[in-house]
């Protein structure tokens, strides 16, 4: 690809995913627990860490550097934006820092504690954000409502149906049932899906992300260093971030250009990603796509060319998203909606499991994994991880 040193993911760790509001540790405490687990997985000491990368996280790196007894902090970087849009860009920052020689072992951390005031659809929605003067007077205060309108438009233009959303929720639940770490391990039937209450039409309860407490951490280092560590490396093949500016607006004012309104806003990110990676959608084995809402996964399948525009619902309904279908499997851990939600860090972890061959829903011979961060305000991001070095 290029002559710069490639980065690799050498380890990962997670805390238990607690029912929302029940974690007894602080955010920093949850981060430390996940980081220590990631260090054990990689076979390094926390003293070896010399950099941090994160996104939308509230724990500053100095707290963690002290708590972990690090000798020296050489790099710390964060991605703009809230929510899950920065997860892959944070890996990109780590890879850049490593290639530049700024640090050798950079750890991504992210933690969530969903206390009452932070609940999704909760009081935080009433606060002022830039642009909310065009939304809150009309009761538009939650991501569910905004993304519901994007998906509704997709339904209008392409004939996507509620049954397509249901098919994805059911597929991801099947994956979660197979995943011992998942929060939701009871199979979901079509009847269950339609019997659940509506949140914001067309989204019903099981279209929406779980809310839970927990943290996850990922060890990024050079491919050369990773080769000497405990686990087979997952190589960072390409990372892309950004997005088309007008797509950033749908959360509030819904003035995206007509050609990108009913999308996940990832079309430019996808184009740049595939160009950097030198591959196309047909080369992928598995796609761990950020799932705040089922419908937005369908739109990402189209933005990434895994399904033709307007055909993602049919792709999922035909069973192609299943782990054992022989197509591009989707959210093989169960995703935010059935495994648990750490703002997309768990999607990266599942991609690494797939490339190591240790997923609970292992795609046979998985060599190339697409991971996306949350379609939300830009910059959002995505990346391709590979079993082989470039």
């Amino acid at each position: 690809m290029s002559d710069r040193a490639q980065a690799a993911i050498a380890g990962f760790g997670m805390t238990e995913l607690y029912k929302r509001g029940t974690a007894t540790k602080t955010l920093a405490g949850l981060c430390c627990e996940a980081i220590l687990a990631a260090c054990r997985d990689a076979g390094i000491s926390p003293h070896d860490i010399d950099g941090f990368t994160s996104y939308a996280d509230e724990t500053p790196p100095d707290q963690l550097a002290e708590a972990l007894g690090m000798h020296e902090l050489r790099y710390a970087g964060a991605v703009f934006g809230g929510g899950g849009g920065g997860s892959c860009a944070a890996i990109g920052n780590a890879a850049n820092a490593i290639a530049a020689g700024d640090a050798e072992i950079v750890v991504l951390y992210h933690a969530m504690r969903r206390t009452e005031e932070r609940r999704y659809g909760g009081a935080a929605g009433l606060a002022y954000h830039p642009g909310s003067e065009w939304a809150s007077p009309f009761g538009l205060m939650t991501p569910a409502q905004s993304f519901a309108m994007i998906v509704r438009r997709h339904m209008h233009e392409y004939g996507t149906k509620p049954e397509h959303l249901a098919a994805l929720a059911i597929t991801q639940r099947e994956h979660a049932v197979r995943n011992p770490l998942a929060k939701m391990r009871k199979p979901l039937t079509l009847e269950d899906y339609f019997a659940a209450r509506i949140i914001a039409d067309p989204f019903r309860l099981f279209d929406c992300t779980l809310e839970n407490d927990g943290a996850a951490a990922i060890v990024v280092t050079s491919a050369a260093r990773a080769a000497d560590l405990a686990q087979p490396p997952a190589f960072v093949k390409a990372v892309s971030q950004g997005g088309p500016p007008s797509w950033a607006n749908p959360l509030y004012d819904h003035n995206a250009l007509p050609e990108i309104y009913p999308t996940a806003g990832h079309s430019t990110i996808a184009r740049n990603l595939y160009r950097k990676a030198g591959i196309g959608p047909a080369d992928l084995d598995v796609a761990e796509l950020y799932d705040h809402f089922t419908g937005m996964v369908l739109l990402q399948l189209e933005d990434y060319g895994i399904a033709e525009r307007g055909q993602a619902g049919a792709y999922v309904e035909a069973g192609h998203a299943r782990w054992d279908a022989g197509k591009v499997a989707v959210n093989t851990h169960g995703g935010n909606i059935s495994e648990g939600n750490v703002h997309g860090t768990t999607h990266i972890i599942e991609a690494v499991r797939q490339l190591r061959g240790t997923s609970s829903s292992q795609v046979e011979g998985a060599e190339l994994a697409l991971v996306t961060a949350g379609p939300s305000m830009i910059p959002s991001s995505s990346m391709i991880l590979a079993k082989e070095a470039s």
């Binding site: 659809g121 909760g122 009081a123 929605g125 009433l126 002022y128 642009g131 909310s132 003067e133 065009w134 939304a135 809150s136 007077p137 009309f138 009761g139 538009l140 205060m141 939650t142 569910a144 409502q145 519901a148 309108m149 994007i150 509704r152 438009r153 209008h156 209450r197 509506i198 949140i199 914001a200 039409d201 067309p202 607006n249 509030y252 004012d253 819904h254 003035n255 309104y261």
Partner: protein
């Protein structure tokens, strides 16, 4: 449907220097969209300059107040005070003349009568502090 459609205290109107001209026009029952005096480009939300020509001479142009529903949601899970007002609609209206879209509500009809493509016209809700544009099916 009885007005007000949504509780005033919860559905806050955050006015700033870019948006105050819009809300001032609402008090006169005039629906306006920011327009560039130089190139005629309409844009929403309002910005400090024209996104088309970077001109900085922008004004609030009155539009007819009619349009079509571009997309919508029917909210069944309301937060805070809004919980008492479900189900209610949120609609994205593509406005005639400017072609820009405005988030609002469809009022005066049951929520489940909303469809993409429905022709609508503006109606005004005076909350005392603000006058808020909502939409009803066009006659």
């Amino acid at each position: 449907m009885t007005e007000p459609y949504l509780p005033v205290g919860t559905a806050k109107v955050f006015v700033n220097e870019l948006s105050e001209g819009f809300w001032d026009a609402c008090r006169r029952a005039e629906l306006t969209v920011q327009c560039c005096r130089f190139c005629g480009h309409y844009q929403h939300p309002p910005r400090v300059g024209c996104a088309n020509c970077q001109g900085d001479d922008l004004y609030w142009a009155r539009v007819p107040g009619t349009g079509v529903v571009y997309s919508y949601t029917i909210v069944h899970h309301g937060i805070g005070e809004l919980a008492a007002y479900v189900p209610f609609t949120i609609v994205v209206v593509e406005l005639d003349e400017s072609g820009t879209r405005l988030v609002s509500n469809l009022v005066g009809v049951p929520p489940d009568s909303v469809t993409v493509g429905l022709r609508v016209m503006v109606t005004w809700q005076d909350t005392g502090e603000f006058v808020i544009p909502r939409f009803r099916p066009a006659r």
